[in-house]
Amino acid sequence: MAFLTDRKRAAGLGSAKTGTEHHWHMMVSSVALCGLIPFFVFTFGRALGGSYEEVVAYYSQPFPAIIAILTFLTGFMHFKSGVQVLIEDYVHGFWRKALIIAMTCLSYTAMAVGIFAVARLAL
C-alpha cells in the first residue's frame, strides 16, 4: 500500500526532476534583488565620482557596505543561474558544459572579489 498521495509524489517534480528548484532560486533571488538594486544604484552612484578618500570614507559606513555585499552575493548567484539557462538554450555538446563551468567559476570569483573588496574598504 502506498502511503504517499499522488499529489505528494508529483509536487515539485517536473519531468527533469530538478527544474523547479532552479526556477525557485531565480524567483527568490529576483525578489531579493528588487529590494537591493535600487539601494545599490543610489549608494554606488553617490560614491562614484568622489575622490579616493571620499570613497573609502563612504564605504566605511555600514549601510552602503552591507548593501554592496548583499548585491554582489545575490546578483552573481542570480547571474550564475540565469546565464546557465542562456547557455543551455543556445550551446550544445562539449561547449555547453565548458561554458556553464566557466561562467559558474567567473560568477563565484567576481562575487568573492567584490565582497572581499568591500570588507577591506569597510574595516
Partner: protein
C-alpha cells in the same frame, strides 16, 4: 520505442517564422539586458577591489569608469538594470498565474519600456 522516427518530424514554429511582436521582443530583451549586465558588474567589482588596494590602483579603475566609455557602459547598464528588473517583475506576476492574456502582457511590455527609460532619466538626474 525503437520504431519512433526521431529525425524527420515536423517542428513547431519558432522565432524565424513569426514577425517581431511586442511580447516576444520585450521578452528577448530581458534576456539580453540580464546577461549584458555582466560587463558593468565586472567593471564595478574591479573598481571596488582597486579602491580596497590603494589610491594608485583606484585612480586607474576610477578613470576607466568615469571615461566616456565607462559612462556609456554604466548609463546603458542603468537602463538595462531597470528594464531587466521590470521584466523580472512581469515574470513574477506571470508565475502567480496573473496577466497571462496577450493584451495584458503587451501593456506591461510597454510599461517596461517607458518605465525603464523614466527610471534611467531619474537616476541621471539624481546621481
Amino acid at each position: 520505442m525503437a520504431d519512433v522516427n526521431r529525425g524527420n518530424r515536423p517542428l513547431s514554429p519558432h522565432l524565424t517564422i513569426y514577425r517581431p511582436q511586442l511580447t516576444s521582443m520585450t521578452s528577448i530583451f530581458v534576456r539580453i539586458t540580464g546577461n549584458a549586465l555582466l560587463v558593468a558588474a565586472l567593471l564595478i567589482v574591479w573598481w571596488f577591489i582597486a579602491a580596497s588596494i590603494g589610491a594608485e590602483s583606484f585612480a586607474t579603475a576610477d578613470a576607466v569608469l568615469r571615461s566616456w566609455f565607462g559612462d556609456l557602459v554604466l548609463f546603458g547598464s542603468v537602463w538595462a538594470l531597470w528594464y531587466h528588473m521590470l521584466g523580472g517583475i512581469r515574470h513574477l506576476i506571470w508565475d502567480s498565474g496573473r496577466m497571462l492574456e496577450v493584451q495584458e502582457s503587451e501593456r506591461f511590455g510597454l510599461f517596461m519600456i517607458v518605465g525603464s527609460l523614466l527610471l534611467t532619466l531619474f537616476v541621471i538626474a539624481v546621481v
